[in-house]
């Protein structure tokens, strides 16, 4: 099975998976990070309470999160076509990945930021810090270790979502697993792709945890 053609295909699949995951994570953070910040800041107990806004935002995020990824994948096909011009391949997969991951990331960011000591925020307020200053100079830096752990969780989750995109010819290792393992019963190739996915998850998780530990000054 491990002839050069298969190896080349696996290598390509691996690169595609990593590409989709990283690009999707980046875009998902562009959307999810501000949403997460907004959730915390506009909370009833937050530094800029806006209860109605907060409630609506929370509702939208919950709605998006409750749609199973496979269904979302199909639901957003028109949007994908409008943005990317096609509905197959890695670039097409990035769109549903971002839409699925952004609300998830918003919740991760929210929980990290909520861990920041209220007293430290109060101290910053007593120094005349504006809401923006508090977000960027207190909340985000103080939550850094927890945000890094969250990012490791986000990136591995996105990787596993990206594998599901194989069902709609989304490219990457998942695509290979489905084409060979599911369609042609070549279980060995499927197992190799699974092993590769497990390996990437493991590496990302380790790196994330290590980064979080090293960057935490609380010990």
């Amino acid at each position: 099975m491990f002839d050069p053609v298969v190896l080349k295909m696996l290598g390509r699949g691996l690169l595609e998976s990593i590409y989709m995951t990283l690009v999707s994570t980046a875009f998902a953070y562009v959307l999810g990070l501000p949403l997460g910040i907004a959730l915390v800041v506009t909370d009833k107990e937050g530094i800029y309470p806006k209860e109605t806004f907060n409630w609506i935002l929370g509702l939208i995020i919950n709605l998006l999160r409750s749609i199973p990824f496979l269904i979302l994948l199909i639901m957003v096909i028109p949007i994908t076509r409008a943005i990317v011009g096609t509905t197959i391949g890695t670039n097409a997969t990035i769109v549903p990945l971002v839409i699925a991951a952004a609300p998830f990331i918003a919740r991760l960011v929210e929980s990290s930021l909520k861990e920041v000591d209220k007293g430290v925020i109060e101290a910053a307020q007593s120094m005349g810090a504006s809401t923006m200053r508090i977000i960027f100079k207190v909340m985000l830096p103080e939550a850094r270790p927890s945000l890094v752990v969250g990012a490791a969780i986000a990136v591995t989750t996105i990787l596993s979502y990206s594998a599901m995109a194989g069902f709609v010819a989304g490219g990457g290792l998942g695509d290979i697993a489905i084409r060979y393992g599911y369609d042609r019963y070549q279980t060995d190739i499927m197992l190799v792709t699974v092993a590769l996915l497990v390996l990437i998850v493991q590496v990302l998780q380790e790196v994330g945890m290590k980064l979080a530990r090293v960057s935490d000054k609380r010990k």
């Binding site: 101290a123 007593s126 120094m127 100079k137 103080e142």
Partner: protein, 338 residues
């Protein structure tokens, strides 16, 4: 030190918290003047409203009613931006220090300067000076987690002083510290008040903190000011029940009156001449009645005898007798005195 103009003036201030199960008045009709250059104490039991009051002084909490003047300016008349600016004239320190845990010591002290838009190198210079003032120059690069409680509070003080405030608000600043560290921090505050002329507002539930550094004190009890006066005045002549509770915190345990049993204590030079009876009363928090006393101090040794009336409670009476015997005194119960 000139102590004449009020730097902080609070007029008929009230604060009501609206909760799901009704309104709660955390502060009611507070009137207060804090003079420039003084160390002003605000003391009260937990939940009396002290933190709410101090948070109203820098408008972290907006009063429901009434006015706060800082340096003659009505804080409620300010725009957001003006309020941010005026807060830089009021440093604040807290029970839990509230340092940025992901920044080192010098970074923490530079923080308020960054917010105030001070240029980086200048901020660093100022921060170094301040660390000198609080005696932590050698810890500039340490992280708060590597410091003791007392050191953390010193960093917090340096940080609060960074923007050259006129007032330093201290909310239970020593309540998380042991007595020796508390003393050190209080001495530092006193020194800052003297050297820099900064007005200090000290919030505490501990009388000894007030005693140690304050000029004047307000007693806050159940959301209201019960009494304001010089520390000496309140200490020697507390007028209200709330004040008495704070000045004589164990007052209530002296209620039990002496009973029928009496004993004679004989001093035969075996014990040194010290206020044994007074010490016992303090240790047991129970009154005894001295019925007869004839003692002499010879070369620091006690000779003579005292007859006391023991408390009603037999258990306590017996323990007192044991207590006295443990002090090497001859003790015998006597009848017929009462």
């Amino acid at each position: 030190m000139k102590v004449d103009t009020p730097i902080i003036k609070i007029e008929s201030l009230s604060k009501v918290f609206r909760g799901p199960d009704g309104d709660f008045a955390a502060l009611e009709d507070i009137n207060l003047e804090i003079m420039s250059g003084e160390i002003f104490g605000i003391i009260g039991m937990s939940g009396a409203g002290k933190s709410t009051l101090v948070r109203c002084i820098n408008f972290l909490e907006r009063p429901t009613q009434g006015t706060v003047y800082f340096d003659g300016v009505d804080l409620s008349s300010l725009t957001k931006k003006e309020l941010y600016n005026i807060r830089r004239s009021m440093g604040m320190i807290f029970q839990q220090f509230n340092l940025l845990m992901q920044r080192n010591v010098i970074g923490n002290v530079c923080f308020p300067l960054e917010i105030a838009g001070v240029e980086k190198s200048e901020a660093r210079k100022r921060a170094e000076e301040l660390l000198e003032v609080v005696g932590l120059s050698d810890k500039a690069l340490a992280y708060p987690s590597q410091l003791s409680g007392g050191q953390r509070q010193r960093v917090a003080i340096a940080r609060a002083l960074a923007t050259n405030p006129k007032v330093l608000l201290c909310d239970e600043a020593t309540s998380a510290l042991d007595p020796a560290t508390t003393r050190g921090v209080l001495m530092l505050l006193k020194d800052i008040n003297k050297r820099l002329g900064i007005t200090i507002v000290v919030i505490t539930h501990e009388m000894r903190v007030i005693e140690e550094i304050c000029n004047r004190v307000a007693i806050i009890d159940k959301s209201k000011i019960a009494e304001i006066g010089s520390v000496e005045e309140i200490f020697t002549r507390p007028k209200t029940a709330a004040a008495r509770r704070l000045v004589f915190p164990e007052d209530h345990s002296f209620e039990q009156l002496p009973g029928k049993r009496c004993c004679r204590i004989v001093f035969n030079g075996n014990s040194s001449f010290e206020p044994i009876i007074a010490g016992m009363v303090l240790d047991f928090r129970q009154l005894v009645n001295i019925l007869f006393a004839d003692t002499k101090n010879i070369d620091g040794k006690a000779f003579g005898q005292i007859v006391i009336q023991l408390p009603e409670n037999d258990l306590v009476a017996n323990r007192m007798i044991e207590y006295l015997r443990a002090k090497n005194l001859a003790v015998e119960e006597v009848a017929g005195y009462v």
